[in-house]
Subunit: 294 residues, 2 copies
Amino acid sequence: MSKSLPVVQPGRAGQTPIFEKIGIVGLGLMGGSLALAAREVWPSSLVVGVDEKDVLERGMVRGAIDVGADDLVVIAEADLVVLAAPVAENVRLLHMLDEYVPGEAVVTDLGGTKREMVAAARALPTRFTFVGGHPLAGAARSGIDAARSDLFKGRPWLFTPSGTVHGGAIERLFAFASGVGSVPKLLDPDVHDRLVAFLSHLPQLSASALMRVVGDAVGEEGLQLSGRGLADTTRLASSPARIWRDICATNADHIGEALDLLIADLKALRADLTTGDALERIFESATDWKAKIP
Amino acid sequence: MSKSLPVVQPGRAGQTPIFEKIGIVGLGLMGGSLALAAREVWPSSLVVGVDEKDVLERGMVRGAIDVGADDLVVIAEADLVVLAAPVAENVRLLHMLDEYVPGEAVVTDLGGTKREMVAAARALPTRFTFVGGHPLAGAARSGIDAARSDLFKGRPWLFTPSGTVHGGAIERLFAFASGVGSVPKLLDPDVHDRLVAFLSHLPQLSASALMRVVGDAVGEEGLQLSGRGLADTTRLASSPARIWRDICATNADHIGEALDLLIADLKALRADLTTGDALERIFESATDWKAKIP
């Protein structure tokens, strides 16, 4: 199955391929969307997916992959390996590459935290060039069925190289990320992890906690009276625990700092409900910052 | 000026008026939207606005009011008085009605908390029939410029009568609320205040606190990398402090309970970042509740 030829679709000229054989391990929202986008942009590249059988079938139906298997053997000849599973699983997969991929390859991942992955990649044999990556893209639903080829359009894709990266891998990854519509940027792994602790992880944790507290307090009947305020504030609240467990475990220091700061502000509001001084201070600062979000 | 005739617009038949002269005190997002809607639905009713001069001018330009003044004297003959200022100001206005409105009138308000208003209304002379009200409608921006006649369409409008309400006032207010497109419901004032502490006040406070913490931590440059998750989670973060100061002061017990529960969940997440057990529990519950939001 791994020897299948790429399905060249007539009438779609596509761009010059950057990688010949793209192995994507994990066809969830992110991996699935990248597979769809890659097949659309580079029809002459072979897109190979690794996931469980039912996910592969849905990926095939969606036209996300040329070839798929539930075994890493299928990515043996890949010149680009994209690890698109939750962070802890990506670390485990990284340690298996030596056994399954005999040739040279650029390796990246799509995980939401970068320090642990970058550290784990130091153990890779030198034929692999690893550059951690994190496309800042998302959707309310997860999984291959929510995947879409325009998920990365206009969104930043952060790459976090560590040490010396050989062979033009960064340039190729930048071209690849640009090809699917994103805006690639370089960032230090630790700077990345602190930034996303605030931009992404704290909003996620507070949205889930808020939804749980509100739901438990007012029940299903009470929720029928909720409006767009609660709906927007809790838009992230359906995110899957298994992805966020890994993110929290691999970014606990920065997320801990972010949670402490939020808890401190909520306590200040709590202590001051009748006079409103903390409220005034926090609301004015929030209004200023909100105006600076693009 | 208060004697001006209603501007009957040709070609707009309108519905049978429920009130002849509607006095709206405070032409912000809520009062302004109600004025716009009332003029659209009942062109033969007179819509009279009270606010500062520049707000009245903008209200006139928008076609929100027939008549306006910066003095309560203009609502002397109103048979419906709508107090649409922040809660503490509404309480102050309530005590002025006896002096300015000599005839019988139905009085309601649009404030976000109800117990304090309902208690204050017990001091009104008997020619006034007070029924507290709270349309569950909102928008990202505030003020007359953000007002829109369809703000109430399909949204619940909670009325919180206390004691015996005479003269069919509730029926008339229900017809009025239905006329502008909302779905009127009756609720006990205390039940209302606890419900909105969770559905509205807690999301607002956490959105503002989140925005302040994230902005302070990552700065303007960091915010350029933010995505829809942060944008949605902080959609409410531009809400004006002066409205929320009053809401918090008049609902401190229920909001305090809500904040305590949220702080407790955030602390549980904080304590458990590396194992993820609290995270699993909270995310699963949040996903369940999120699915029950209409």
